[in-house]
Symmetry: C2
Subunit: 454 residues, 2 copies
């Protein structure tokens, strides 16, 4: 490992002893690996040189960005090198004419968003964790709140530079909008959780910044009525940016945690909407159509969040739900995705599992895309009991999602912790093809080995 210091000569950028624990885990900190070195490259060339060395010596390499991963993708469970890309954090070029921004992978989402918004532009992907890195967002194909209208990270990647496991550097895509020029390595890299290549430069698509944003909180008697109304709102072409669902019992946790109050506490569930656009008039027109459609489809009310303070409070409670859960207990996050019309059925099943198992399950998420966040709550369980109960609950809920035509992950990825459920849910022939592709590009299986599949 000391040879790495001849590749990266700055002694502050190669750690081979006293490695802080944060580098061998993910954001949850429960899965821990070990490594022999942490390297902080600052250029594509350095990443390439490190990978060439690792390839020559068959040393495993685990890339990481801001370390906000939730499924263990950044855990170096086979030792070797942790390649920390957080110092590759330059915003290289904002090009208004092509509506693109070119960045290094370590740039944090919050900084990117602020930077482009200052120029009147907008980077729509909006996963909950704003201190995540763009490289990580691409590696997990991160989704978030605005996916109903704007899509996910994949939809905003125009071009990538990446270092392959053998150290070769490839470029794919560019500033162009369309691309039918050969197999899409770009789309293969997106969502591959750092198993096929290390992203070192990203050309991202921007859109004009919406001039006007308006929120609405829509209370319903039950989640089922709320989800049915969501489908109607989509059909009515009201173009919402976000459509988040929350059961009342979950909101109460957030209220207590934030010491804030939601309007309409007698609701059984809420749908939180937002609308954006180039002008107030058209946004209000769409919101009004949404109001009518919601009220005709079971909404108890339709509260426009006109006051900035109320709007902020509602979104702060929504944003704090995971932290509200974690304040009282460890939890295992789940981000199952089902067809949007099966969301209510899936949550009803989760509620049933909660009743039957005694394990608390807290659900909320993205109603407009059927992407359900479940927190499986540990409570006071001893380690062995928790392992057993968690696995039993996970097996049931992943089984149900499969039955409903769902997939294991909508936005977090598979990593280590969702591997057993992915293995059960995915088509075996498809997983075999994935493994063949992995081996074709990484014949020594050194780049983030053992993630997604064995």
């Amino acid at each position: 490992m000391h040879e790495l210091q001849t590749i990266i000569t700055d002694p502050g950028r190669v750690l081979v002893s006293d490695i802080p624990g944060a580098y061998v885990t993910d954001n949850l900190g429960r899965l821990k690996g070990q490594c022999d070195a942490v390297v902080f490259p600052v250029s594509t060339e350095e990443v390439s040189a490190v990978m060439k060395w690792a390839y020559a010596h068959s040393v495993p390499v685990t890339p990481r960005g801001a370390g906000t991963n939730l499924v263990g993708s950044t855990v170096p469970d086979r030792g070797g090198i942790v390649l920390d890309l957080s110092r590759m954090d330059r915003i290289l070029e904002l090009d208004p004419d092509t509506l693109t921004v070119t960045v290094e992978p370590g740039v944090l989402l919050s900084r990117l968003q602020a930077h482009v918004e200052e120029q009147g532009l907008f980077y729509p992907p909006d996963p909950g964790e704003k201190e995540s890195s763009i490289g990580g967002n691409i590696s997990t194909n991160a989704g978030g709140m605005r996916a109903v209208k704007y899509g996910v990270t994949r939809d905003y990647v125009r071009g990538l530079t990446a270092v392959l496991p053998n150290g070769e550097v490839i470029t794919t895509g560019g500033k162009v909008v369309k691309d039918s020029s050969g197999l899409s390595l770009k789309h293969l890299l997106i969502g591959s959780e750092g198993t096929l290549g290390i992203i070192t430069q990203c050309v991202l698509k921007l859109v004009p910044k919406p001039a006007y944003v308006l929120g609405a909180l829509v209370p319903f008697a039950s989640l089922k009525t709320g989800i049915d109304a969501v489908i109607r709102l989509i059909h009515e072409n009201t173009g919402p940016t976000a459509m988040e669902f929350m059961e009342r019992k979950v909101v109460e946790l957030g209220e207590r945690y934030m010491n804030l109050r939601f309007p309409f506490p007698e609701a059984g569930a809420y749908i939180l909407l937002s609308f954006d656009g180039a002008g107030e008039g058209e946004v209000r027109t769409r919101a009004e159509r949404a109001r009518q459609a919601a009220l005709e489809n079971g909404a108890l009310d339709f509260l426009l969040l006109e006051e900035k303070q109320v709007q902020d409070e509602v979104w702060r409670v929504r944003g704090a739900l995971v932290k509200a859960v974690e304040a009282v207990s460890e939890q295992e996050p789940v981000d199952i995705v089902v067809p949007i019309n099966r969301t209510a059925e899936f949550i009803a099943y989760a509620n049933q599992v909660e009743q039957e198992s005694g394990v608390q399950l807290i659900s909320f998420g993205h109603a407009g895309d059927g992407n359900v966040h479940l927190c499986v709550v540990r409570g006071g369980r001893e380690t062995e009991v928790w392992k057993r109960d968690l696995h039993a609950v996970m097996t049931r809920i992943y089984g149900k999602s499969r039955e409903l035509g769902g997939l294991t992950s909508g936005e977090h990825g598979i990593g280590l912790s969702k591997k057993p459920y992915f293995r059960k849910a995915a088509d075996p022939a498809a997983v075999l093809a994935m493994k063949q592709i992995k081996l074709a590009l990484d014949n020594r299986n050194i780049l983030n080995p053992g993630k997604i599949f064995d």
Copy 2:
């Protein structure tokens, strides 16, 4: 080959002699292959059985849909089996709740669009050739007129069933909106021109049908001013569905061919816009903003196409441009894509090449995505002269597109005819990775071999 008749026992669905010439070429008919059999499967199982047989016997297989390909992807230049999927043309399910339609690959675009529009839904991808098959659209990642607002075919594929070269059947994606569950085989298959798998079932995303559509024709003194204005219109967030550019000299060809007249004949170039949305009011608001921005940025006028007849005539001329060229001469189509702000520069260069080479180059295309359609016109050239002149012109224009940060194909694919230019333009390390992936999934190199790369 006669063994195929034991796999598909219906004698009308296996041709082993007197094979019509249409099956060994593409839509242009200039590149011709030869084959030993044409098979017309009607199910995934039959496709799988044929591929298993072909794999066991190392027989090349060339899949085809409606045969509207323009780059030779459907030309069986290594013999073997042509697998014609046009009889797998069932629309299996229209699911309004999830806004998806599930179809077989042989369904024609025109039929799919009409079918979903009857139900108030909309399939946005709109390549010029409406009698193309959905399987073919996916295999080339077809783009078209509405890509500025709605994106390309890739953006509307939710799930695929495909048969791999060894006959294994895989499913990837589904009716779900988000997917971060393993390597994206779906996105790898999209645009792979039938080299990695044979698509046998497609789950496609739909959107609500826009209730109101409005067109506008915007004349400019020059193409350069027009393209600059296009960038302004995008920045103003006016949300156009289509932004097509046409130089006046090209329009004149279309006018003569269709015996129709464009308004404002004194223009040097036109930008043809359309807007759509859920209501007339919001569409007109955006069109009005576009009018102001266009007039402030060099537009000579801004003609709303209020009369259906005028609108139809303008679009008919636009739609007839390729045919207008072909009525007078053979032509080689090019669909280079450059960053949107380099489009005018690229066309200026094409005009310069035309001057210098004496080879007529007719350009038009998608201004909103920098996707330029060039027709390289043969005129009266003898075969050898044409080959030489064409290659000289193509080398120059593909070289220029590379210099401008462009790519070889925006929507047609690489196939056979663009291979030499793709080889020069693409990153060699990336092409090597593509070949490794191809070999990993097709170790006998039997599925559409020799397309995209050797």
